[in-house]
């Protein structure tokens, strides 16, 4: 049963390994560029993984120095992406009632870089030298709070945490907030920046990361037989969600409709994915949107380039949607943005719907034998996309699917 309240996307913002904004990120995606490079810092030398997808534009080039020293990098990039989305939506001078504006921005891990850096200061120089900004910088609601302060949001500032499903779940929460009448506009998305020795060592210890250190740009290769794990990336993605009649009343430009969301949990394993939970998430999203699998032309998948996860998702899409949708895995270019992944990939899905083009999956040179669904391999594919799904799954057994339809 579709909700009587229509929710549309009126603004987009991002800073990613492919570009410092949405336009440059989208151009790079369509061109099939990789954002992955070698980590040349001394600290990377002893690590088994020495590649990552680092931001294309450093936050220091965008935010002023004083603001930056009070924010964790994940907070800074959330603010950068939110500012872009806010401007893009034309809300800067729209006279929006602050009590009708909410924020829903999550992070998978939070201010780990701040925590590690301040712990170093504590060990080397003692407690008095620890920054008084430490706690606001490392708390996982920090990015949402920074954006709420920046935009003056008074309808509530929310920060969901569901590991790599966070960005998508934050957008799903935004949909709920508008449908339930608690806000007219929600600035929603995800952010992550944890390219540091401990997070890399931790993921590497799980044997979850690619160790293709000699070929950084070829390391993230979802569905390819040679895939050997994900590539850690950093970035932020933010969308402006708005009640459709509110957007129409102010003559806002509409990118797409957020037609539905589905959230499930596996209750199966902490880190292993499961077809059942993923399938149910996509089915719920379709039902929420009032659509059937046949209506979905394209799926922006969660596929991270791990040996197990990529094929489980293909089986889930086949069960929930069918064998017709054209898949892509944009992580082949951005790396895995963890808590930001579902948000940046939602932006890619929204633009795919708007522009009628599926961004490519690069490095898919030798597809897995079980990959029996169409994929936009190597190059972008032009096609009509009336409706598309974005999947995001996270450690803990979180499954989120979002349905975007043409405006």
């Amino acid at each position: 049963m579709a909700s009587p309240v229509d929710v549309v996307v009126t603004g987009l913002g991002a800073t990613t390994p492919l570009g410092g904004d949405v336009a440059s990120t989208w151009d790079a995606m369509l061109a099939g560029r990789s954002g992955v490079s070698a980590l040349t810092e001394d600290w990377a030398e002893p690590l088994p993984v020495r590649i990552a997808a680092q931001l294309a534009v450093d936050p220091a080039e965008v935010l002023d120095r004083v603001k930056l020293r009070r924010m964790d990098r994940a907070e800074a990039i959330a603010v950068i992406a939110a500012r872009e989305a806010w401007r893009d939506a034309g809300l800067a001078d729209a006279g929006l009632d602050p009590e009708r504006l909410a924020v829903s921005i999550g992070t998978g891990i939070g201010g780990a870089i701040t925590l590690l850096k301040q712990d170093d200061i504590l060990e080397s120089s003692g407690p008095r030298r620890v920054s008084p900004h430490t706690v606001p910088m490392l708390m996982p609601n920090g990015p949402a709070a920074c954006v709420g302060l920046e935009l003056g949001a008074k309808a509530g500032v929310h920060s969901v945490a569901s590991a790599c499903a966070t960005g998508a779940e934050a957008i799903a929460l935004g949909l709920d907030l508008i449908r339930s009448g608690r806000a007219d506009v929600v600035v929603a998305g995800g952010t992550e920046s944890v390219i540091a020795p401990l997070p890399i060592a931790g993921f590497a210890a799980m044997r979850a990361m690619s160790t293709r250190n000699d070929e950084p740009q070829r390391a993230s290769r979802p569905w390819d037989k040679g895939r050997d794990g994900f590539v850690l990336g950093e970035g932020a993605g933010v969308v402006v969600l708005e009640r459709a009649d509110h957007a129409a009343a102010r003559g806002a430009r509409v990118y797409a409709r957020l037609a539905g969301a589905g959230i499930t949990s596996d209750a199966y394993d902490m880190v292993q994915p499961h077809v059942d939970g993923q399938t149910r998430a996509m089915r719920r999203a379709l039902a929420d949107a009032g659509l059937s699998g046949q209506d979905i032309a394209h799926v922006n998948t969660h596929a991270t380039s791990t040996p197990t996860g990529d094929m489980v998702e293909v089986a889930s899409v086949r069960a929930a949607v069918g064998t017709h949708p054209v898949l892509t895995a944009t992580k082949s270019m951005t790396g895995h943005l963890l808590g930001a992944a579902g948000a940046v990939e939602s932006i890619a899905t929204i633009l795919a719907v708007r522009d009628g083009v599926v961004p490519p999956t690069i490095n898919l040179d030798d597809p897995d034998d079980e990959l029996d669904l169409p994929v936009a391999a190597h190059t972008a594919r032009r096609m009509e996309i009336p409706a598309a799904l974005n999947n995001a799954f996270g450690f803990g057994g979180h499954n989120v699917a979002l349905v975007f339809t043409r405006a």
């Binding site: 002023d64 120095r65 004083v66 020293r69 009070r70 008095r128 008084p132 900004h133 606001p136």
Partner: protein, 79 residues
Amino acid sequence: MTREEIMSGLAEILEEVAGVNPDDVAEDKSFTEDLDVDSLSMVEVVVAAEEKFGVKIPDDEVQNLKTVGDAISYIEKAG
């Protein structure tokens, strides 16, 4: 160290920590009201001042340092 030298040292700290324009720093300026230094940044200013001037500024003393002049006087006395 003269009051002018201490003020110029404080101005450097205020610029670094809170982005205060050194030209705005004067003895009669209040940290919070005139220079817009928030409570957490004030903690940073105090710690940086202790290091720069080799003094100890106890936490219960900080609340008495309303203006730049108050801070200069305290540092002058403690130094």
